[in-house]
Symmetry: C2
Subunit: 210 residues, 2 copies
């Protein structure tokens, strides 16, 4: 009889000291948060379809008995993990960019920063492939919508008239999403580092108004 709704602490996005994936000497007891983080980790690497409770339990060194104490169902875990991801997704980057004084320097800087941290994009890429699961659609819709709006105002502030700014934001964000898919999901001729930097600069020069 476990109707317990455990304490959601939301201490951010990252790993605890006592949790390490795929090695089991550390046998501290687990919290709901641990399961959510492990779930996100698994989603990033193998996709939403691979999110099975018994597999996760094995990976954490426990059994299903533990899981069903913390969560009512598998869907509950997915929802909790998605909610956590949505909360602590782009917080920092957006606020960092907004602190840049010159509006015309914001977009290039955004492009370069986003380009150089690949890890946070893995979850987003996995979630893109899971758009048939009804639970992820609203989350992705909200996140994508917020980012699009951020891009749109950035383009306006960079000098584009409103209607063009919206379309340019659409184009930019589509290019971002497509790049994710084509590269570390599909593995097209593995672009290397210098080449990638050149690509980013090409993007900047063709998408951002001088």
């Amino acid at each position: 009889m476990h109707l317990a709704a455990p304490h959601y602490k939301y201490t951010g996005y990252g790993y605890h000291t006592h949790m390490n994936v795929s090695s089991k000497p550390e046998r501290t007891r687990l919290s709901a948060e641990d399961w959510e983080l492990a779930a996100l980790h698994l989603i990033a690497e193998q996709g939403v379809g691979a999110l099975a409770v018994e597999a996760l339990a094995r990976q954490l060194g426990v059994t299903k008995g533990s899981f069903y104490w913390h969560f009512r169902t598998r869907e509950a875990l997915l929802n909790a993990a998605l909610e956590r991801w949505e909360q602590y997704g782009e917080r920092e980057i957006i606020s960092q960019i907004e602190q840049i004084a010159d509006p015309r320097k914001r977009l290039p800087e955004l492009f370069r920063r986003v380009a150089h941290e690949l890890q946070p994009h893995r979850v987003y890429a996995s979630l893109l492939k899971a758009l048939d699961h009804p639970q992820v659609v609203p989350v992705m819709a909200r996140v994508s919508q917020r980012r699009m709006e951020f891009l749109t105002t950035a383009y306006r502030e960079a000098g584009l008239p409103p209607p063009q700014a919206l379309n340019r934001a659409r184009l930019t964000y589509a290019a971002y999403v497509g790049f994710l898919q084509l590269n570390f999901t599909l593995g097209l001729p593995r672009i290397n580092h210098e080449e990638f930097d050149a690509y980013v600069e090409h993007m900047i020069s063709t998408l951002i108004p001088a």
Copy 2:
């Protein structure tokens, strides 16, 4: 004992007269081709994950017994369907575009044509979400690679120097892929017709050199 490797006819991509999904008065006997086409149809609408043999059989008005006569396994069906799709995918469009005399008019025309036939893109979009299945990766890699090369030469012929042409092709194709995902997979604020046309023109003016 059915080791039979049935006759692959490859008569193109489209529906037979005697096959209609989701109504069953027509009870002709089925061929391997029928199963492949039905599979592609199902993939386009519900994704690769929904490709179950019993479900397909129900939809075709037969039972599994039929299926396992034509195919050795479920994977065999997927491979056959993918192969068919790869063969009869972009044949026409590419050849049509190549017949346009002025190289500078090819890209705008390509953009506009691709934009106005949504149906063929549904399979591609579904396959993008199935990039965790190892069977679809090589197919998508080949198809995407071919299209990218086509775009690259088109940009060169339109006047871009080679390195820029490659990056512009990358950008363009990423924008295409991302648009698919963001729109009829995720349902972002459902862009309407005039607005969509305006978006396409915006793409043309920012991505294609004057």
